[in-house]
Symmetry: C2
Subunit: 193 residues, 2 copies
Amino acid sequence: MTSISTHDLILSSARTLIVSGGYNGFSYADIATVVGIRKASIHHHFPTKAELVRSLVAGYRKEAEAGLGALEGAVADPADRLRAYVGYWQRCIADASAPFCICALLASEMPALPEEVGAEVRAHFRTLAAWLRTALEQGAGQGRFRLERDAASEAEGFMATIHGAMLSARAYGDAACFDTITDSLLDRLTARP
Amino acid sequence: MTSISTHDLILSSARTLIVSGGYNGFSYADIATVVGIRKASIHHHFPTKAELVRSLVAGYRKEAEAGLGALEGAVADPADRLRAYVGYWQRCIADASAPFCICALLASEMPALPEEVGAEVRAHFRTLAAWLRTALEQGAGQGRFRLERDAASEAEGFMATIHGAMLSARAYGDAACFDTITDSLLDRLTARP
DNA sequence: CTACGTCTACCTTCTGGTAGGTAGATCGTC
DNA sequence: GACGATCTACCTACCAGAAGGTAGACGTAG
């Protein structure tokens, strides 16, 4: 049994911490406590906080791209694909394992973020929007969706609603709120014209 | 000419600061610099940071309720009313005067917020959702809107999309992104069945 | 005289970050 | 196989500055 490297333990605990309070909501001391090493040892793995978070978001993006890519390969029907994507977040929020997209969270703090981190966040938004656009285009081509605008705009609207639903679930402290909003988002798309 | 009270100067500078970086993104020192007084003097007006922010959000809520109420009285057509609401934010974002709803921003940091502040944020979400619901119900009653779900769910979806659009505009650094998303949100509602 | 608003001066704790050192694994070289 | 040299991952100890907050003095307006 191979134990997880300290490097990865730092990243994963930072991820958990950042999900709950954003960039300025956690410190090296917090991570040190969780991982069980000293503050200074974190600097051995990540020289600065900005670099730690940049690296964390880069890893998150890679995971997301892999996940979205896998979904594209595994689920042929665009409607089911979008349902699978939304379902993923419904589960994350319901079991509170990771109840917020770190990029959505960091986006709200954009003006206060180190530039390197901001760039990663921006890139994630572009990736996700492009993936959604592809699904919408395919669905429209198959006569499966009725789009009222170009696919790119619809994709931005879809993404915004998902992120806003995360915000509402958090504000109300009610996971079901996310489901209500996203279910009707999906229904609207797949309803016959 | 009556000069603005220090009390209000503190609140308004705190509002500007919080819009850009959230609860942990500003300090008493930051406010002191902007207002031109010493840190300690702020404590004379607001004993703790939590109380300052709670009071700030409470004031924001009051303003919002007044503004929404006035809109309800002044604009009879529910579609125009929603358009006016969205237009307000389009202008705020375009001129960068206050490019984010502080309650939406604080909602993302909910788990890290003092309880008193969290309660105010939650209350704002409820107020706004209720106002939107009324507009949607009126529009549906007049046959002006086609709703695919109950008005309450549609209102939550509407609010989520607005908040998500703010997030996207920030992530991309592109105010026009907010307009694209919200315009199609309004169009969809008012389009004939 | 009093109440208020502001000040200086200070406190404690936390912040991200640095300096320098140590135990153990891995290395090339004889 | 034995040798030192280097590398890795961690440590203790420290730093300067910022955080939120307190105590008490001072001046001014009513």
